[in-house]
């Protein structure tokens, strides 16, 4: 498992043997440890055990683990001893380098990648190693360069950004020359400007590159200004031109704005970042938020040898949505306006830490709390448990905890999508609060309340994300929350953003636990915000509400299914009964029989998710026979929706499984969702949960088939080679034939196109008509979901531009829907 071996994971295991007392291989898990077996970390004074067994190999391991731990811990805090520590560590490392080269390099690599806020410390350490022994320096620099190339080809933009910043600081540490850094930055800037230097090409890729270069210049600018001021000016000008062109193109693009009450900046963080860069340049390129130890070793570093690095290639052929999308840090708590540079620098380091330590949220939470360690005393204040939250004034100084939580929410709310799953930010928040229960409970509460206070201008998808986040978060802390603050929501309109947010969050909480548990937590004034009864099914054929002959069929069906009847038996019952209904035509009879079957199958499977799967699987032949036309499929879907009217979770799961078993099509689901009966209810979250699941499923199938095609093709090629070698043996191709997979893929791509076009069409029709929405709020919800759909699936949208222009965005389409389409296309260039 790649995430268990992260930083700090393997320490203290120095003297443990590799097999246990039974000669079996030891599994390195704490719960496998016997009570009498103490971890070696616990020996007093950190000395190795005194047993005679400790051979030279164990000693070497012990030394290596101590070296690693020294490298990891150096510079955790900006203390007066930092200079001595760094100096001593570089002496030790230099001395032992040849003996423990692999360990030292590995630890160094991990530290640079995973402890990004200490980049100033590690660049100085690399510089000192280089000054003491240029061979060692060459190895360290060479290794990091290899890591950069590897991360670059994998498209790990977070890591690339951190590494380029490290190289930028190496110039200041005199380990590489200014020209080497400039050559590196030029690789990133090359695609930005056309060959003759006149045209600027704005794209997702180039924005990502400009962002990486700007981040590096923030730290490397000082050295470049000193050694190559003219070259620096040229790079800055390129960036300025790019940002200007980018701003022009994105002027009114609010497609990815999280808050609509602020200045519409769209994706335009680059302009903001450039502003920070300008301010830093004006301050002689001096960054005062974080301590840079290079200055303390100026004379020693000055005598070092600089290394040259080979150039490298950028990856090609990546999809436009696989690049890092720079985004602006949300301002959720007021902060002093004059400290914008410090705030940016610290939040940038926090963001990198969250992103780089994603593999281990516990370590991430632990290290996040240390990020302010290298700040000077007056740079930001850190809350203490003894303080009352209201004693901290975020408007007079930067407050570390608020900045951290702002970054966490920025990542969670990143549009169109962040690099990691939403769940990461829930579990990271849980770890953070576990680490500092009192302080962070208040900080998170303030942040959420501040968002909810502005909720009418909050992006619709972000309301949904915040609701998911809050439900999981509260589920981990006993559902404790001051609901009285939102009790006013109960008085608001059904579809007001705040009321919807509170109600949907409570529904999520009920899904994660159960109704009575949540009710017990709510004040009287909020009880009207939760359903009065436990969510249940809505079986149509209850005894009171049907005529004699319908009851007969229903009773017969119920008995058959209860006694483990088969699909054939059920079909027979339907046939015998309905064939006697001579007063209705064949089509109506079919419809009635279909409804009867689906209702009973759903009832059979209504107990749990597994029961439901079993019921559908068992009656699949009958269901498929009944779903023989688009209309029939739609009827099945609508019966499901009606049956689970009061239990949206079951509705979503059932629909999902029916699509899996191909009883209904993705297009059926889309048609059902946009049915006119939902007008006035566009605010319900579960409708869009179903849409998302369906489109994701179609996209996933395409990706899987593309993978299968590659496998089939390479297998076919292998056979061709085989055949050429031994033409006599008539080998049948094994596995899937390329033609077959190609045919299936083509079919699937058509289906994908159908879903994308149909969904867009339904959105646009409803939004362009006066009857498509019930009122202004209803339209705002639908519009929000339309934007969500367009930006989430922008790759598929752009791939079908032609069809969409011809069929959907015609003269009948309203102006604002066409604007969204335009913005989507700009976003995905």
């Amino acid at each position: 498992m790649d995430f268990s071996g992260r930083l700090g994971g393997g320490h203290g295991s120095g003297a443990r043997r590799d097999v246990d007392e039974f000669g079996r291989e030891r599994r390195n898990r704490p719960h496998h440890r016997k009570p009498y077996e103490r971890p070696t970390r616990g020996f007093r004074g950190g000395r190795p055990p005194m047993s005679g067994r400790a051979g030279p190999a164990d000693e070497a391991k012990e030394i290596e683990s101590r070296l690693s731990s020294l490298i990891i811990k150096v510079g955790d805090k900006n203390t007066p001893t930092l200079q001595n520590n760094l100096d001593a560590l570089s002496v030790v490392l230099e001395k032992d380098f040849t003996k423990h080269e692999a360990t030292v390099l590995k630890t160094f690599r991990q530290c640079v990648l995973e402890l990004p806020w200490k980049v100033t410390v590690y660049s100085t350490l690399a510089g000192l190693l280089n000054a003491k022994n240029s061979e060692t320096g060459a190895k360290v620099v060479g290794l990091m360069h290899a890591v950069l190339r590897r991360e670059l080809s994998a498209g790990n933009w977070g890591a690339v950004k951190v590494l380029v910043r490290f190289f930028a600081l190496l110039v200041d540490a005199n380990a590489i020359s200014a020209t080497t850094l400039l050559a590196m930055l030029d690789v990133f800037l090359k695609p930005v400007v056309s060959d003759d230097g006149t045209e600027i090409a704005v794209s997702a890729q180039n924005s990502c590159y400009v962002f990486i270069v700007t981040s590096a210049l923030l730290w490397g600018g000082r050295a470049l200004k000193q050694h190559a001021p003219e070259e620096l000016a040229v790079r800055l000008q390129t960036i300025e031109h790019y940002v200007q062109r980018h701003s022009e193109l994105n002027q009114d693009n609010t497609l990815t704005a999280v808050f609509h009450d602020a200045q519409p900046k769209g994706t335009n963080i680059l302009a903001y970042q450039l502003g920070v860069l300008r301010e830093v340049a004006e301050a002689e390129w001096k960054i005062d938020a974080v301590f840079v130890p290079n200055g303390m070793f100026a004379s020693e570093l000055g005598q070092a040898t600089q290394h040259d690095l080979p150039t490298f290639e950028l990856p090609t052929g990546l999809r436009s949505d696989s690049y890092y999308v720079p985004c602006e840090f949300l301002q959720l708590v007021p902060s002093p306006a004059e400290l914008v540079v410090r705030r940016y620098v610290l939040q940038d380091l926090i963001a990198d830490t969250i992103s780089q330590l994603e593999g281990n949220r516990k370590d991430c939470a632990k290290y996040l709390m240390q990020v302010h360690g290298l700040c000077g005393e007056d740079v930001c204040s850190v809350m203490t448990a003894a303080q009352h939250p209201e004693d901290v004034d975020p408007e007079s100084s930067l407050v570390f905890e608020y900045m951290m939580v702002e970054v966490l929410f920025t990542s969670l709310m990143q549009l169109p999508e962040g690099p990691y799953r939403e769940m990461y930010y829930s579990s990271l928040a849980i770890e953070l609060r576990k680490a500092e229960p009192q302080i962070l409970a208040n900080v998170f509460e303030t942040a959420v309340e501040n968002i909810v206070a502005r909720i009418s201008s909050f992006d619709i998808e972000c309301i949904n994300r915040l609701s998911n986040w809050l439900a999981v978060y509260l589920g981990n802390f006993g559902f404790q929350w001051d609901w009285t603050k939102w009790e006013g929501a109960a008085e608001e309109a059904e579809n007001s953003p705040r009321r919807r947010f509170v109600e949907e969050t409570l529904l999520k909480l009920i899904r994660l636990s159960y109704l009575d548990r949540i009710k017990a937590q709510l004040p009287e004034s909020c009880l009207s915000l939760v359903p009065s009864k436990t969510p249940a099914h809505n079986f149509k054929f209850t005894v009171q509400s049907m005529d004699e002959r319908t009851r007969e069929v229903s009773v017969a069906m119920g008995r058959c299914l209860k006694n483990k009847g088969t699909a054939d038996q059920a079909m027979e019952i339907l046939q015998t009964h309905y064939s006697q209904w001579s007063d209705v035509d064949e089509e109506t009879r079919q419809g009635l029989a279909r409804e009867m079957l689906v209702e009973h199958v759903l009832l059979l499977g209504s107990k749990t998710f597994s029961h439901m799967l079993n019921a559908i699987e068992k009656f699949m032949p009958a269901l498929q026979r009944f779903g023989d036309s688009p209309e029939a499929k739609l009827q099945i879907a609508q019966v499901v929706e009606d049956f689970w009217l009061k239990n949206p979770q079951f509705c979503a799961i059932t629909i999902d499984k029916l699509v899996n078993y191909r009883v209904i099509d993705p297009a059926t689901v889309v048609t059902m969702l946009f049915d006119t009966s939902h007008i006035g209810r566009w605010c319900m979250f579960h409708l869009w949960e179903i849409l998302r699941n369906t489109v994701n499923k179609v996209n996933m199938r395409v990706v899987q088939l593309q993978g299968r095609l590659i496998v089939a093709q390479s297998a076919a090629n292998a056979i061709v080679i085989d055949d050429a070698e031994q033409s006599e043996t008539q080998q049948k191709p094994q596995g899937e034939s390329v033609e077959h997979v190609e045919a299936v893929l083509e079919q699937m791509l058509l289906e994908q196109k159908e879903v994308v076009v149909l969904t867009t069409q339904r959105f646009v029709q409803l939004l362009s008509s006066n009857d498509g929405t019930a009122d202004e709020l209803d339209r705002a919800w639908l519009m929000g979901r339309f934007k969500e759909f367009m930006r989430s699936y922008r790759v598929q949208i752009v791939a079908n531009t032609q069809a969409l222009e011809n069929q959907v965005f015609t003269a009948d389409a309203s102006q604002d829907t066409r604007q969204v389409f335009e913005n989507t296309r700009v976003l995905s260039t």
Binding site: G359, R361, E422, S426, I430, G475, K508, L613, M700
Partner: protein, 162 residues
């Protein structure tokens, strides 16, 4: 193990439903199926389950994000599992439940109260207690007087019930 899509999930409450599991675990990816761990004897949930995803990546993401968080107010534990096989849905403890519930010494409301061994001990203790109390079928007359005098003028039927 390097490509598994299944997770073993432990330390669940006996009352946690499949739907609750579905809600939490689908946050790491689309779920293929959930198999509840059942007691061999009573065929009721006994505190563990298997969750199967469609892809290995989702299983890993679940390990990263969901493992160690709370469901139904209990910290749940997930482990990559080589894959579910028929029969593994049953507890392997002697009493039909999970082995760990066999020897558990603490009282755990959400996992059926005492561990099985302890439950038997408790039952035995209760039985003995009842036996030794029932052995004294007639309350000495003097004692009854004392009780009544302390309680004040109580009704005779109330005093007799002791």
């Amino acid at each position: 193990m390097t490509k598994t899509t299944t997770l073993y999930v432990g330390n669940l409450s006996f009352y946690t439903t499949e739907e609750q599991l579905y809600e939490l675990f689908s946050k790491a990816g689309e779920i293929k199926r959930i198999i509840m761990g059942l007691s061999r004897n009573t065929k009721t949930p006994c505190g563990f389950c298997f969750v199967e995803y469609y892809t290995h990546e989702n299983a890993l993401e679940c390990m990263k994000y969901v493992n160690g968080t709370k469901l139904d107010e209990r910290i749940i534990r997930t482990d990559l599992d080589p894959g579910f096989k028929e029969g593994r849905q049953f507890g392997r403890g002697r009493s039909g439940g999970q082995v760990r519930d066999e020897y558990r010494q603490e009282y755990d409301e959400a996992r059926g109260g005492w561990g099985h061994m302890r439950a038997k001990q408790e039952e035995e203790r209760k039985r003995q207690q009842e036996e030794s109390y029932e052995a004294i079928a007639t309350v000495p007359a003097g004692a009854e007087l004392q009780i009544n005098s302390r309680l004040g003028p109580a009704s005779p039927s109330h005093g007799g019930s002791y």
